[in-house]
């Protein structure tokens, strides 16, 4: 009996603790443990995380009826889809004291004018990562998409290139290279992009989403189309492993895709109050900077800059200047007809 009481107290306190829970549905590896712990201490609550590795996966799971998430961190086009399907709670800006920290270029986006539902969290740019020494040795340019799409460059790196296994991203890269906007929905332009991709495909090793980081780090892959924060990680891994080469990455001159991830409140979340606290917490400069320092993601928070390591702060791929920003497009969501057409084009790309 005596042993039962402490056990009971433990269970009760755990239950009380459990009631103050914030459910966060976030990308893999998109928040540092230190930040999580600090938040939990500050708010006397527990942060419960679930992960996804792709916007479509998250949207599909939500469409499949997943509920109970207070906060989600979708990319712009997914935010758009969520807003239009009336799945989000409007953000109460009066609860956010640190909102002024966000840089104006990242506010008031086309997918959420006035930031009624979303608050910027972090961003990443889709660009080209490369093995610096190999590129120099082969005399290949690294500041243009041509190195991924033009056979005259590709034949030097045949079998050493990977591209993203994402319909939107790959098409966007091709469209940018051809001089169109990444959000161009003209089917004729899409067909042009498709042909460009099919022509380059024989030289590519694989369509890859995440394992290309490892391949770059080992030295199997010399060129990769991917996200800036993944490239940062590859660079660090290569350095730590003492590789005889360095990984570099940069935004091509034709431009690229800017993926702005924002915090949104899902309708089915039970603790919007805690959700707002989290958002405000992440808007603080120091907290926001931890993610950037950890994975090299872009930071839309002006107050974070003093806390970011100088190396990252000076990297134009992480903090693009105004001129580069103009060339970057944020992807908009497609309607069902366009999705079907894109679907078919993707099947052709994969098969031919």
């Amino acid at each position: 009996m005596r042993r039962l009481l402490p056990l009971l107290l433990c269970i009760l306190s755990a239950a009380a603790w459990a009631r103050d829970e914030l459910h966060l549905y976030n990308w893999n590896n998109y928040i540092s443990d230190a930040t999580v712990r600090r938040f939990e201490t500050e708010c006397h609550c527990k942060l419960i995380q679930d992960y996804y590795s792709d916007n479509e996966e998250m949207l599909a799971k939500l469409a499949a009826g997943a509920t109970g998430y207070d906060l989600i961190v979708p990319t712009g086009n997914a935010v758009e889809a969520l807003i239009r399907s009336h799945a989000l709670r409007p953000v109460d800006k009066s609860l956010l004291t640190n909102l002024g920290n966000v840089r104006s270029e990242y506010l008031d986006t086309p997918f959420d004018p006035g930031n009624r539902y979303s608050i910027p969290y972090a961003y990443t740019v889709t660009l080209i990562g490369y093995n610096f020494e190999k590129m120099r040795e082969l005399g290949l340019p690294t500041n243009t998409w041509a190195v991924i799409f033009e056979p005259r460059y590709l034949q030097k790196v045949k079998g050493r290139v990977t591209v993203l296994d994402s319909q939107r991203e790959l098409l966007a890269a091709a469209l940018k290279y051809l001089g169109y906007s990444a959000n161009d929905t003209d089917e004729a332009h899409w067909k042009q992009a498709r042909d460009l991709i099919i022509r380059a495909k024989p030289y590519w090793a694989a369509f890859n989403a995440s394992s290309y980081i490892k391949e770059l780090t080992i030295g199997n892959i010399w060129l990769a189309h991917g996200y800036s924060n993944d490239m940062f990680q590859a660079m660090q891994d290569a350095r730590r492993a003492g590789r005889p080469f360095t990984i570099g990455y940069g935004i091509p001159r034709e431009g690229g895709v800017l993926s702005l991830d924002s915090m949104v409140l899902h309708k089915s979340g039970k603790r919007p109050d805690l959700g707002h606290r989290f958002i405000d917490f992440m808007l603080e400069g120091r907290n926001s900077s931890e993610l950037t320092n950890l994975i090299g993601s872009g930071n839309p928070n002006a107050a974070a800059l003093p806390y970011v390591t100088p190396e990252l702060a000076a990297n134009p791929a992480v903090f693009p200047d105004a001129r580069q920003l103009q060339k970057l497009d944020m992807l908009r969501d497609l309607d069902r007809q366009q999705r079907r057409v894109l679907n078919r084009i993707w099947a052709e790309i994969k098969l031919r």
Binding site: Q167, W204, A205, R336, N343
Partner: protein
Amino acid sequence: MPFSTITALLRTRLTRWAVSGPPFLFLLLFFLAPSLIMVLASFRYPGEFGGLAPLRDADPVVLQGLTLETYQFFFSDIIYAEIFLKSFVVALATTLICLVMAYPLALLIARSPKKHRDLMVLLVILPFASNFLVRVYAWMIILGPQSAFARLFNDVLGLFGIGPVALLFSPVAVLIGMVYVHLPFMILPLYTNLEKHDPVLLDAAQDLGANAWQRFWRVTFPLSLPGVFAGSALVFIPVLGMFAIPDILGGTRDMLIGNLIKEQFLGVRDWPFGATLSIMLTIAVLAWAGFSTWLAKKWSHGYA
């Protein structure tokens, strides 16, 4: 009718319902009904942001009702038929390779002394004990460019002046993965059949002057056809619907029908098209099952 007979009849009826009822109802609800829902879904519109559009909605502006547009979309481009064809070819290749690899092993086990047989069969099943993903992952390690095997392979190729070949993320890797995962399914039915062969037949053939190859081709193999067909079915049909293996081991061209279906539901938010593809796959599977049953009957007629 005497009362006791009625109660007896009732009791047998009741017992029958009590025994076959629960599983029947469960499967009716969780197998038959979902299949019918899928057929229905292939005739609906996709929801604007995912899922399915409603069948009926108060607001006339909202997309609703049934349509043939998804099937039209499927037949409008040859690409989807190509993907089906590709999946068939992969399934056929896997089946044939499995057959060639499994046959000697099954034959060996069948001809071993009884006390060894169970152990040998168990040794075949044990790899099946590992998770299917683990088996695929094992090949990721072996075929990865940094592995000893890949390097050795490429060194040998280098001797002939052929450039380094990427083993991983290629159709070869997918095929190896498919064969590896499904090999036990071919070995077991073959063995079950071969075990029943009467050695007297082979002795008789030898007495009549047949050499080893003739004995095999003219006696053993025809008798084993039912086992061959059973094993083939157990390999061909699952391979047709596979997506995980091309997903993990495949390269830029390896999209099979399973990958396409998965993408509709978990990628592109086009559920009606996913349903249409699934219906087509079901038809393909049924057609194949029917065809191979017919083939089996035709061939075994001569030897039954």
